[in-house]
């Protein structure tokens, strides 16, 4: 079985084995075993829902150490569009970039231009492709993986165009090489990320190619430093690109950038799922493009952001005023820079057994088990709902008595049996029978 890198990690010390996270996971990837939550790697899509749900802050994101910057002669900080909306004073994008640079990067870049180039590529793709429609954006890595594991048949709808992060890294590398004459290995590119899914995208671009990035730091890690350094900024960094690239920070921004009328923007992974179900059933007509984002509000709602997503959405509009409305990108990228280097093939996890005959038999067993379960979906067994426990049982990863209710029933039956045994004591032993009949 293939192994998967995941940025979402569990701190065993902090996990109390409660069931908050198992209920929120959109792919039912978490089980509580031996008092600790376990994330099943093949199912996890790194959406970050469990991080939000955990009351004990036991879920964290594995990001890179800033010591990694020392490994490279030149370092580029790539700043996600949503980062610019994290500051109360609404500093200009050039100032924020300069503050990030002061943290120890030799270069710093926004994603504005890259987002515009990607939007143009998507528009061109939509104008020429034969379908199947609706085409689905690949810019949110959590949604891409959600489709791979839960909607395998919809992988055909995914648009094979790189996300702005990768394109920006490609551009930055070319610029730094041109400016310094250094080798590509001398350059380290690091993403300042609002979400765990992007960290995973940096470290595990499965399949075809390798990410242009070397690491990622979360908003929450760099925010304090960046905020402090804003005061020390003497000269703003130049900003290349326009507001049209910035608005990718929030839901709907990508569709606006692609500039078509018949796109659908959906945010929040539960809502994304309902839309994908419509697509799967062929019910979504008149939509050519879907921009789905796992987080409520889009990237401003990422699990690693500092500011409230709804407040940040307003800020995006305010910061956008500091940028030109739209400046058509003057460069054209080679095809290879825009072609998605990620494996988009299905990763279905749902079948009960690799052998179809066995799976069908297990399905029969599953239905019988379901009939015995209380269907309260309480989660005490460590599975998100009763049916999931039944699935675990036929997969041999759980037993029926993991259900508290079944266990009590069985204890009750056992107790009844014990009582009936005492009632059956023979008269010859000369003891009172508990129903009193033995006294005759």
């Amino acid at each position: 079985m293939a192994s998967y890198f995941h940025s979402v990690q569990l701190d065993e010390e902090k996990c109390r084995g409660c069931t908050n996270c198992i209920k929120r996971c959109p792919t039912e990837a978490i089980r509580v075993r031996q008092g600790k939550a376990r994330i099943e790697a093949a199912r996890c899509v790194d959406c970050g829902q469990c991080i939000r749900a955990c009351p004990n802050r036991a879920k964290s994101v594995l990001t890179d150490s800033r010591a990694a910057l020392k490994d490279f002669k030149y370092t580029v900080g790539l700043v996600a569009p949503s980062f610019f909306a994290q500051f109360r004073s609404n500093p200009s994008p050039g100032k924020v970039l300069a503050a990030v640079k002061l943290m120890g990067f030799t270069h710093v870049r926004g994603l504005f231009l890259a987002a515009e180039l990607v939007a143009s590529a998507i528009a061109k793709h939509l104008a020429t492709t034969a379908g199947p429609f609706p085409r689905i954006s690949t810019s949110c890595p959590a949604v891409v993986r959600l489709i791979q594991v839960r909607f395998p048949d919809l992988t055909r709808h995914l648009v094979s165009i790189e996300a702005p992060m990768e394109v920006a890294a490609y551009l930055a590398r070319a610029e730094v090489r041109g400016e310094t004459g250094c080798q590509d290995e001398d350059i380290g590119v690091f993403f300042i990320t609002p979400c765990p899914a992007k960290v995973t995208a940096v470290h595990q671009p499965v399949g075809v190619g390798k990410s242009q990035l070397n690491g990622a730091f979360s908003f929450s890690e760099v925010y304090a430093d960046a905020y402090r350094l804003l005061a020390s900024v003497k000269e703003e960094e130049p900003v290349v690109g326009s507001a049209r690239g910035l608005v990718w920070a929030r839901s709907g921004g990508e569709g606006e950038g692609v500039a078509i009328d018949d796109y659908l923007a959906v945010d929040g992974i539960e809502h994304v799922i309902t839309v994908l179900e419509e697509v799967e059933m062929g019910r979504l007509r008149g939509v050519r493009y879907i921009e789905g984002q796992a987080c409520v509000g889009g990237c401003v709602g990422g699990a690693l952001v500092v500011e409230n997503p709804f407040v940040a959405r307003v800020r995006v509009a305010q910061v956008a005023r500091a940028l030109p409305l739209y400046s058509p990108p003057e460069i054209t990228l080679p095809e290879e820079a825009l072609v998605l280097k990620q494996d988009l093939s299905p990763r279905p996890f749902i079948q009960l057994d690799e052998d179809m005959e066995v799976a069908i038999k297990k399905l029969g067993e599953l239905e019988k088990i379901v009939e015995r379960l209380p269907m309260l979906d309480c989660g005490s067994c460590g599975a998100p709902h009763c049916r999931a426990l039944a699935e675990d049982i036929v997969r041999d990863t759980a037993v029926l008595t993991d259900c508290d209710f079944v266990l009590r029933e069985q204890v009750n039956e056992l107790a009844q049996e014990l009582i009936s045994l005492t009632v059956l004591l023979p008269n010859a032993m000369g003891r009172k029978r508990i129903d009193g009949e033995g006294e005759k």
Partner: protein, 168 residues
């Protein structure tokens, strides 16, 4: 009088399946009830069947065809009938789906099979349903389709889909 309609949709590749016995293969049966006129839950039966088929591990494209055809049939029950039932029998060689309803029946099946022909009332069309694509979509997605209908009593659809372990 009952009208049996179906032979004409048979292609050579699927004739094998009529009356085919499943034999040694493991089979699994499910059934779901469908309430007429309840659009809020229309499609739940098809969605549940889809999950079962995914658990079996049938290829995604086949699951999609079965789910689509079942969904359309389920929707027909919701639009036109009082109540109905979806039954499915699943093996690795063959998936059979029955959708039976108590309802008005179909007076002219040939007409109903035409794309765009619909007897759905206006309020149903206003919801975006009843475009006259139901039966044509079922026919397109199923490997074989048989319709039995009695006007004033109800309609029974029988659809079959060749599974991956079929020998055709």
């Amino acid at each position: 009088m009952s009208i049996v309609y179906g032979e004409m949709f048979l292609t050579e590749s699927v004739k094998f399946f009529w009356g085919c016995t499943v034999g040694e293969q493991a089979t699994f049966e499910v059934s779901y009830t469908v309430e007429g006129a309840d659009f809020s839950i229309a499609g739940e039966g098809a969605a549940r069947l889809k999950r079962v088929l995914q658990q079996v591990g049938l290829p995604p494209a086949l699951v999609r065809r079965i789910a689509l055809a079942t969904y359309e049939a389920e929707l027909n029950v919701v639009i036109h009938a009082y109540r109905g039932v979806i039954k499915a029998r699943v093996s690795s060689a063959l998936v059979e789906v029955w959708v039976e309803d108590q309802g008005p029946g179909i007076p002219n099946v040939e007409l109903a099979m035409k794309e765009g022909y619909s007897t759905a009332p206006d309020h149903v069309r206003a919801l975006g349903f009843g475009a006259g694509m139901g039966l044509p979509n079922i026919r397109r997605n199923a490997d074989a389709l048989k319709i039995t209908t009695v006007v004033g009593e109800g309609t029974a659809l029988y659809m079959t889909f060749a599974g991956p372990s079929s020998e055709v």
